[in-house]
Structures are given as structure tokens and as C-alpha cells.
Symmetry: C2
Subunit: 376 residues, 2 copies
């Protein structure tokens, strides 16, 4: 069983449930709260790994489903595992593949044993079981891996949600039993939607397995933000204090701030890079749509408060030109900036917790959103 994954609380905020910690992994120590950029196919789209390092990224996420289909887990293993293959020597987390099987693939069959689905690439029939999800993730070689879970849509019946919780718990035991590598932290995933009793039921099933960390799944899947915050209000306290807590697939900067105030430590989301490719920037003055004509002759930086390589070297006018011309450099520059913005948020959150003023930080951030100019 893993021995390298010490999680140490450094500070807690007195006005909220926010906490700051150090999490030791085989590829380095992560300061939490932390945000993981998404490198679906073993690359954070449009960004060199050295650039991720330079803007303060500590850990990245890769998607098991995509990598299992192409190039395949054995190929990743033969290329030295994810770290060596993509030249990222920091920590990596992989998901179980389950979320994409349920959202991307054409499902053929799901039972307690396994999921059978059609590859979205070539239509071939494939199967994923708890044992297989662990075996694939052992080939990929991330520091932190995830149990296979069932994540139903947020609006299914309570009965179906309860069945998903039970299956997720049973699969979590099988994942734990299947784990062979001692150098990977296997996380259990809570399900149960926005239902307090079901979240408790899920926690009761998973906590006795004593995973080295716990993820909260089944949020940010279509419910209202306030429902997510309410769910976190009662779910996070169910989790052990001395282990990292990971809110999967979240989210907007405000969602991350609200979740940190409720005691969450880890986040991942495609928003910064996906928005970058669509010419939308996160800035200290709100969202900026770079295709807007008003930026055409603007020599000023995208975000005057940002010290990232994009904001210190290029103007809004040039960024607009790149997007209007369909040039790769546009998404490249904006991905670096948006990721730097997210890193800045979590860095500021750590400082705010350390200084016991997390509520103040949250309030100031909300005010800046309210006062920001809305772009047409």
C-alpha cells in the first residue's frame, strides 16, 4: 500500500472551512489548494510542459479513457509511462475512464461486473471493469489514480442514484483489491448527487476502505452552482480531515473559491484551456472576448495585473489579430494566460488561508466580478 503520500495541514482559516496543506507524492510536494490543468491525451493543449512549470503548475491530470483508446496503455508504458512520455516530472493524476465511458462513448451494457462500450474513435467494442481501470492506470503510471465509479446524470431518480452509490462502493473495494503498485495513491470517489442521505451512504461505504484521499464526484454535471455549494456544505465534513479532498471537474474561478471555503484541496477543469481556444480570457477585470472589434488597435496587455509570459509580451490587439487570422499562436498564448490566471487564484487562496482572511478574499473576488464590464 502507498507509503509516500503524506498530507500535512499547514494552516486552517478561522472564518471558513478553508485549509492549506502540503501533499507529498513520488514526484514532488504539492501545495494545496491546488488546480490541475487537464492534459486529456497526455498534453495540455497548446502548452509546453516547461511553460506549465514556469507559471507555477504543480500537478496535471490526464484522461484514462482517451489514453486507453490511443495510443493504448501498453504503448504509454513502453514509452516510459506518462511522466517520461510527456516530459512532465511533477505529479500526475489520472481519472478512471468511467466518466468518459458514460459521457462520450456509446454504452452497450452496464452491470455490476463491468461496462461494455463502443470506442468513439473506431467503434470497436471495449469493456471497462474496476480491475481493468486500475490495471490501465498502473500502466499509465500517474502518482494519483481513481477508482472506477458510476456517475449518473444529476436528475435521475433517487432509486437509481442509490444504486449508483452502491455500485460505486462495490467497485471501490474491487479497485483497492486490484491495486498492485505501491507508489500510486488510489482515491475513492463519493457519489450521491445533491442528496445528503445518499452522500452519507456513500461515505459510510468508502471510508472504511481507508483510501489515501477522497474525491467528490457527481457534481458540476448540470446542477445549479448553489446546489453544488450546498452539497459541499454537508459532504466535505463527512471526509477525513487528514487526507486530501478532490472536487472533480470544477470549475469556474468562483466555484473553486467557494469550494476552498468549504474545505476542498484539489481541482481540475478544462475551462481555462478550452476557453482559451475559443478566444475567451479570464482576467482580473472579468471575462474578455478577444474577437471583439474594440480590441483591434489596443496596445495594452490582456490583463494589466498579470505577470504571465503572454501579458508581459503581447497586446490585446495582437491577440485579436491571431484569433481573427486563425493562427495557432492565439490559442497557445491564451492557454498560458488562462492557466496562469487559475494558478494565481489558488496561490492567492493559499495566502488568504495562511493570513486567516479567506472570507475577505472571497468577498473581494465577488465584488470584482460584479463590477466588471460585461462585453457584448
Amino acid at each position: 500500500m502507498p507509503t509516500d503520500f503524506q498530507f500535512t495541514l499547514q494552516a486552517t482559516d478561522s472564518g471558513t472551512a478553508g485549509r492549506m496543506g502540503l501533499w507529498q507524492t513520488p514526484h514532488g510536494v504539492i501545495e494545496t489548494p491546488a488546480f490541475m490543468p487537464v492534459g486529456t491525451k497526455a498534453t495540455v493543449k497548446g502548452v509546453w510542459p516547461s511553460q506549465l512549470k514556469a507559471i507555477g503548475v504543480q500537478k496535471i491530470l490526464a484522461n484514462t479513457y482517451h489514453l486507453a483508446l490511443r495510443p493504448g496503455p501498453e504503448v504509454v508504458r513502453d514509452l516510459g509511462g506518462l511522466h517520461r512520455m510527456m516530459n512532465w516530472d511533477g505529479p500526475i493524476l489520472t481519472d478512471s475512464g468511467g466518466f468518459q465511458v458514460f459521457s462520450l462513448a456509446e454504452l452497450r451494457q452496464i452491470n455490476d461486473e463491468q461496462v461494455v462500450f463502443k470506442s468513439h474513435i473506431d467503434g470497436s467494442l471495449l469493456q471497462l471493469s474496476p480491475e481493468k481501470a486500475v490495471a490501465i492506470q498502473e500502466d499509465l503510471g500517474a502518482d494519483c489514480i481513481m477508482c472506477l465509479d458510476e456517475c449518473p446524470p444529476h436528475d435521475v431518480s433517487r432509486e437509481r442514484m442509490r444504486a449508483a452509490v452502491e455500485r460505486t462502493t462495490a467497485w471501490a473495494r474491487r479497485c483497492r483489491d486490484a491495486q498492485k503498485r505501491p507508489d500510486q495513491a488510489l482515491f475513492g470517489i463519493l457519489q450521491g448527487g445533491t442528496d445528503r442521505a445518499l452522500r452519507e451512504y456513500s461515505a459510510q461505504g468508502l471510508l472504511p476502505i481507508e483510501f489515501p484521499g477522497y474525491a467528490i464526484g457527481g457534481l458540476s454535471v448540470g446542477e445549479e452552482p448553489v446546489e453544488m455549494y450546498d452539497t459541499l456544505d454537508f459532504t466535505v465534513p463527512m471526509l477525513p480531515v487528514n487526507k486530501p479532498r478532490y472536487l472533480m471537474g470544477v470549475g469556474r474561478p468562483i466555484d473553486i473559491i467557494e469550494a476552498v471555503c468549504r474545505g476542498v484541496d484539489l481541482f481540475d477543469c478544462v475551462m481555462p484551456t478550452r476557453n482559451a481556444r475559443n478566444a475567451t480570457a479570464f482576467t482580473s477585470v472579468g471575462a474578455v472576448k478577444l474577437r471583439n472589434k474594440k480590441h483591434m488597435r489596443d496596445q495594452s496587455p490582456l490583463d494589466p495585473e498579470c505577470q504571465c509570459p503572454t501579458c508581459t509580451q503581447f497586446s490585446r490587439g495582437y491577440l485579436r489579430h491571431l484569433f481573427q487570422s486563425g493562427e495557432m499562436l492565439g490559442p497557445m498564448l491564451l492557454s498560458v494566460h488562462n492557466l496562469a490566471f487559475y494558478q494565481r487564484i489558488v496561490r492567492e487562496l493559499r495566502t488568504a488561508i495562511h493570513q486567516n482572511r479567506l472570507n475577505e478574499y472571497r468577498a473581494a473576488f465577488k465584488r470584482s466580478l460584479e463590477s466588471c464590464p460585461v462585453e457584448p
Copy 2:
């Protein structure tokens, strides 16, 4: 008239017409022979300017035709000119726009006064005259700008080729007369195809205008390589010894080597970056097609002799995965490598000239091409 463009010969090769020089421009000194990556729309596709610097790029080329259509010369000027807009503080060269008008746009009319053409972006009717080509390039603000010339297909009648030479000479005088900025070197462009008498006729027309440098146009437009080399054999000696000579749009590494042996100083070509986007690498062991299945599990670098950021950080197997997955990072990494390969060629050429062994270098390069494994 320009005063900042001192060209100093540092060494000449005794066995060939090869020469090594230093060319002073307002944005720094260029060591020649030099290769300019093409940044058509004010960006070398997929590469940060800082990365170009890091691999030894001295000067880049941007295309007047594309920038004149979008974002427009006034916008580039308002964004501080090309250097500031694209954050490249080294020398820049712009072409006149003529080549693209003849090759990309739908021509409506050409006479001695001007060319009228349809924009390939929105179909609007535009015109380009020698005066306008200079005015646009003065807005763009490159260090080195080009006269508007007429570059006919290589297989037109001698009569039409002669007319193109005459028009090119007349337009060159008008460009010279139209030039207002003293800080840009305006180059004359020789035309005349592969015909010695017409090249002489072109030189006789342009040399008295005393441009600070001369370009050889009308080559690499469909003729055989040996015809190009033969044309260079008799054309280069027509040009002044004490001014830089620029062979436009060339070419493959072997073409650059052959042209340097004939006394050419400057080159530009889209090949390194365009091939990179198509998954084809230039290496010391010949062309490598990265989509080939044999690279799937290959942990070795693309080119073991290359010290570029791509070859020192990533494997052939990972590069193949990126291209197979349609990831931006594939073209990004390969563009850096291919450009680094071209920079290495011109660096080695300068050393070979300095050491008086250019013939030896050319012979060794040819042998390496002959012995390289041909990929299926």
C-alpha cells in the same frame, strides 16, 4: 536614404563562391548566410518568438499581402509596427505582396500602373502599385523591404518574360522614388527566369539604382533544381560583391547549400514549418515521417544529433502520438525542431566558409542524403 545597413564580408571560401558576412540592420547584426523563418501573418506558426531566439533565429519574414488584407497596415502601425506587435526585437523582412497577388488572388487587371485583384478573404477589389507596396511596408515597419516586381510562371514565352523584366525595372525605380523612411533597406529584385540574357537585362536595369541589397526572384517557381543552380551560376556574379544577396523562397536544405556555394547570403522558406505541420521532420538522417507506425514505441529522440528543445525533451513515440491524436503540441514541437535544423545548416555553412572547406561540407551533406534510409 538608409544609412544603417553596413554589409561587411568576413570570409570567402577559396573553393566556391561562398561567403560569410555581417549585415547591420536597425534591429541588430545578422551573420550571413542566414535563413529566415516565414511568419506570414506576423507569427511563425506554432512558435513563440522567445523560442525562435533560443534556437538561433536572427531574422524573420512576414508577408505584406496577408497583413495588408488583415489586420491592415494602419492597424499594424497603430499596434507599434511589426516588431512591437509580434514582440520580435530582431530584424524583420517583408516582401512586396506581389508574389501572393499573382499566386493567391484572382487577378482582374495588370498594367504598367498597377495590379487590380480580388481579396482571397472577402472578394473585395483591391489594387497594388509600386508606391502602395512601399507605403504599406513603411506602415508595417520591417528593417528590410522589397520592391514590387512581376514574377511570371517559369514557363512563359521569352517575350512575356522580357516584358516582366522591364516592368519590374520600371516599378523598382518608382519604389525607390516612393520610399520615405530612411531606416528601411529597400531591395531590388532581379527577374528573367532561367535565361542568362534576360537576367543580365534585369541586372543592367536595377544596378544603376544602387539598392542596398538585391534579391533574386523568379526561381523555385517550378523549374528543376539543376536549372535553378545553373541560373545562380551566371546570375549571382552580376550582383555587387559588397551588398547582401537574397534568394527568395528557397528552399530545401540542399538548395540552400548549393546557393551558398554560389554566393547567396539570405534565404526564406515555409518548408520547415509547413512540413512540421504535416508531421515530416528534417533530421541528420534524412526526412522522418512521424505518423509512421514504426515510431509508436520509440523512446529515442527524433534526431540524436540535435540539441533543440524538442529533441532533448521528447521521444519519437510521443511525437507520433501527438500527431495521431491531432494535438496542437505535435506541430508546435516539430516546428521548433525543423527550424532548429535549418539554423544548424546555416551555422555549419558559416563555419565551413570560415574554415575554407565549403566543398567538403557540401559533399558530406550529399553523402548523408544518399545514405539515409527512405521511409515508406
